[in-house]
């Protein structure tokens, strides 16, 4: 009798997880980007891209977005496209250190990679845009980027029959609005995700995809190097803001970072954690390009960052040996560089193939 009770009890506990599962509904597109979620979470595969309900991923929408992304006609003098500063062959960033916009004007901050931007809960170094859609409207009328106005850009687009046609097919209405432009670009950006790398293959079970040195780099990344304290989850970023006391170089004397958005003194000098995926493709590093190479950046972390009264408490000197820095660099360079064509090899659309 007792045995039976015990067995029943055991069976009951075993079933609880199953019961909990059976109530799950299939994932639905969501506007709440999953990195708003509580963390840290283990580094690993990227989850499916979060897609807002009002901007579904259709092939036409994506293609339209890609055309706009490579189209210099969005800028005032037809010289700059999104791709000028977010170029596929520069890891979707630019040569830097900070960006050059229209008429060779120098911006204050380093261009951010567009890869996996879809996973960011907030866009920009300081998180001033809530979504890719909101973000995409910014550069067009930023005087040091594309230097245009929304009205003027829309006038141009509405005068190109090829675009009017495509927008009509995707959104079912004309004239073209700035929200539609932003939606199409955002849809394209949601395809620029790095779901395949040697690291991803390794965590999916292919033991041989990493060398011993790269495995050690991964172990240090998640251990003695403390990198996953901030670079966690599938996108190797907590999506939050930290003050690393980065040396301020370039055109700006001071950059208050997140403070500019929140006016909260706690946020002085904080910038959003950048993904480490594809980092090897986009030196120099940090929001002002202050660290020239990956090794320089790792040395910077090994010193515990820079000097600042608001330095993040997670930044401490690491005591990494030379071999450990080499292992970390090998891991980032070889294991975290994406292999999937949609992200790594997006082919630019030449001007001659853009809608006329």
């Amino acid at each position: 009798m007792r045995e039976i009770q015990v067995l029943l009890l055991g069976a009951f506990f075993l079933f609880i997880p199953l019961l909990a599962r059976s109530g799950d509904t299939p994932p639905v597109p969501t506007t709440k980007v999953n990195v708003h979620s509580l963390g840290p979470e283990r580094i690993g595969d990227l989850p499916p891209v979060p897609v807002p309900v009002n901007n579904p991923q259709t092939s036409k929408n994506i293609l339209l977005g890609k055309q706009l992304y490579f189209d210099t006609r969005l800028s005032k003098d037809n010289t700059i496209s999104c791709a000028s500063c977010h170029s596929p062959d520069k890891g979707f960033s630019d040569a830097g250190p900070t960006s050059k916009g229209i008429k060779d004007q120098l911006g204050g901050r380093r261009s951010m990679p567009v890869i996996n931007a879809a996973y960011n809960p907030l866009q920009f170094w300081d998180g001033r845009a809530e979504s890719l859609e909101e973000q995409a409207k910014g550069p067009i009328q930023n005087p040091v980027e594309m230097g245009n106005t929304h009205e003027n850009a829309l006038k141009t687009l509405n005068s190109i029959p090829g675009y009017v046609d495509s927008f009509k097919q995707v959104f079912g209405s004309t004239p073209i609005t700035i929200d539609q432009v932003a939606q199409a670009i955002a849809a394209f950006e949601r395809t620029v995700v790095t779901t395949d790398s040697l690291f991803d293959r390794y965590v999916r079970g292919d033991e041989k995809s990493l060398t011993a040195q790269e495995k050690m780099g991964l172990e240090i990344f998640n251990g003695k190097g403390h990198c996953t304290a901030c670079h966690w989850g599938g996108n190797f970023s907590d999506g939050r803001f930290h003050n690393l006391a980065v040396t301020q170089v370039g055109p700006l004397q001071v950059d208050k970072g997140r403070f500019d958005v929140t006016q909260d003194p706690e946020d002085l000098g904080k910038f959003r954690t950048m993904t480490v995926r594809d980092a090897a493709l986009r030196a120099p590093y940090l929001h002002d390009g202050a660290e020239k190479t990956l090794e320089d950046l790792l040395e910077f972390y090994n010193r515990g960052g820079g000097k600042d009264p608001n330095l993040d408490p997670l930044m401490v000197p690491l005591g990494l040996f030379r071999e450990e820095i080499q292992a970390l660099a090998a891991f980032i360079k070889n294991a975290l560089t994406s292999l999937n064509p949609e992200a790594a090899k997006v082919q630019p659309i030449p001007a001659s193939n853009l809608p006329k």
């Binding site: 506990f13 509580l38 963390g39 840290p40 979470e41 283990r42 580094i43 690993g44 495995k215 050690m216 991964l218 172990e219 240090i220 990344f221 998640n222 251990g223 003695k224 403390h226 996953t228 304290a229 966690w232 907590d238 939050r240 930290h242 010193r303 515990g304 009264p309 330095l311 993040d312 408490p313 997670l314 930044m315 401490v316 000197p317 690491l318 005591g319 040996f321 071999e323 450990e324 292992a327």
Partner: protein
């Protein structure tokens, strides 16, 4: 019998409930997906990051409220145990024996933003079944069942500056916790030392409450009110007090980077009369129910690359009522230790350490004088998810007493693992 039965049941239940049986990682690491060495120089010693997490009520500094709580994570339980073999060589002869040197059941986690808890239960470990039928009859346990820690922390009552811990806990003045150092057999002698009549050892966990705080300039304090320890139940109205002040110079927290100095002081009262007894202990010529004891001292933790040198010196002054041998003198003793740890190989997979202990008792108790030297090596096994298995070798040479010194050697090899 019943206890054993229950402990076995608990352990079996744990093994079954752990969600990822093949990847055994202790609770915090498991919740966050971190390798052990995120928070430990090498387990169980905390690094700066781990120390800051501990100071922040087991929450990642700056991230409180943005973490999953215990209900949203795998069951927050961990085990630590150490099977192995030891060789003892002393005046009385040699012994060589296999054993399981302890088992800790740990539970810890964040309940809500800025509210967290820690539980450590050490189950009673009797000798194997034969002991229950043989002459020992279970009277010789290898470990006593104890609720070693059970406390709740309210963090950031004032951001960083005021945190409150309530329950049974390891008080802040134990900067070099014997629970989180590398040595398994060799204790910090002075921390465990007590005058025979007071029984109040500095290393004991305390029941009470502790206020603590840490600041950007490297300053930390802790202020505690506790029952006090010792063999006799604390039945006095006077509670014990302690104050601990720490300053860290340079970046880091003094655990694995930065240089740290600390001062501590403890003022307590201890009953001098056993429960129900009408007269005080023998020897007491000012024997009242309670008498004073003081502990004070300083500590140092210096870091250079992956070397960590630590030093502690402590003075204990117990009222003469506690001095059984020379009842007209206070019982004054002192002692300390110096330890040098080195972390080597990639991700600190290798640890080497040297330790010197000294205890200088009052001359009336010179037979309790101790000098010992110890050495230790640990090599860790694991992968990027955890380095939670340590092969551990430890040696101690110990001299006890002044005139008729007793010499002892202890070698041990064991496997220290956490899950």
């Amino acid at each position: 019998m019943k206890k054993i039965y229950i402990s076995t049941l608990v352990i079996t239940a744990l093994l079954f409930l752990l969600p990822i049986p093949s990847q055994a990682i202790p609770a915090f690491a498991r919740n966050h997906g971190f390798n052990c060495n995120m928070c430990h120089t090498a387990f169980p010693k905390l690094n700066d990051f781990g120390q800051r997490v501990r100071d922040n009520g087991y929450q990642i500094p700056g991230q409180q409220g943005h973490e999953k709580n215990v209900l949203e994570t795998p069951i927050p339980l961990s085990l630590r145990t150490t099977p192995g073999v030891s060789l003892y060589h002393g005046e009385s002869g040699n012994t060589l024996g296999f054993g399981v040197y302890g088992l800790d059941l740990l539970g810890a986690g964040v309940l809500h933003k800025d509210i967290s808890f820690l539980l450590i239960y050490t189950p009673r470990i009797d000798e194997p079944a034969g002991d229950f039928t043989g002459s020992n009859n279970g009277s010789n346990p290898g470990q006593l069942g104890s609720l070693e820690s059970a406390n709740i922390v309210f963090s950031n009552l004032v951001k960083d500056a005021v945190n409150l811990r309530i329950g049974r806990f390891e008080p802040a003045y134990q900067v070099f916790s014997s629970k989180r150092n590398f040595y398994i057999f060799q204790p910090y002698e002075i921390i465990g030392y007590a005058s025979p009549a007071s029984g109040a050892a500095f290393g004991d966990n305390q029941v009470g409450l502790e206020l603590s705080g840490h600041f950007r300039n490297g300053f930390k304090y802790a202020l505690g009110v506790v029952n006090g320890t010792g063999g006799i139940a604390d039945n006095n109205l006077f509670k014990d007090f302690y104050l601990n002040l720490v300053q860290v110079f340079g970046k880091g927290d003094g655990q694995s980077a930065g240089q740290r100095v600390g001062l501590f002081g403890y003022l307590g009262e201890q009953p001098t009369r056993t429960g129900g007894a009408t007269s005080p202990y023998t020897g007491s010529n000012n024997g009242q129910d309670n008498n004073l004891l003081f502990r004070f001292g300083g500590d140092l933790s210096l870091n250079w690359k992956t070397f960590n040198l630590i030093f502690l010196y402590l003075v204990g002054i117990d009222d003469q009522a506690f001095n059984l041998v020379s009842p007209d003198e206070s019982y004054i003793y002192s002692g300390g230790f110096v330890e040098l740890d080195y972390a080597g190989l990639l991700n600190n997979r290798l640890i080497g350490s040297l330790l010197y202990n000294f205890v200088l008792p009052p001359s009336s108790a010179s037979e309790t004088k101790v000098h010992s030297v110890s050495a230790l090596g640990r090599y860790y096994l694991g992968d990027w998810t955890a380095v939670n298995v340590a092969l551990h070798g430890e040696y101690t040479f110990k001299l006890t007493g002044d005139d008729n010194t007793i010499k002892e050697h202890l070698f041990s090899f064991l496997v220290d693992f956490d899950l």
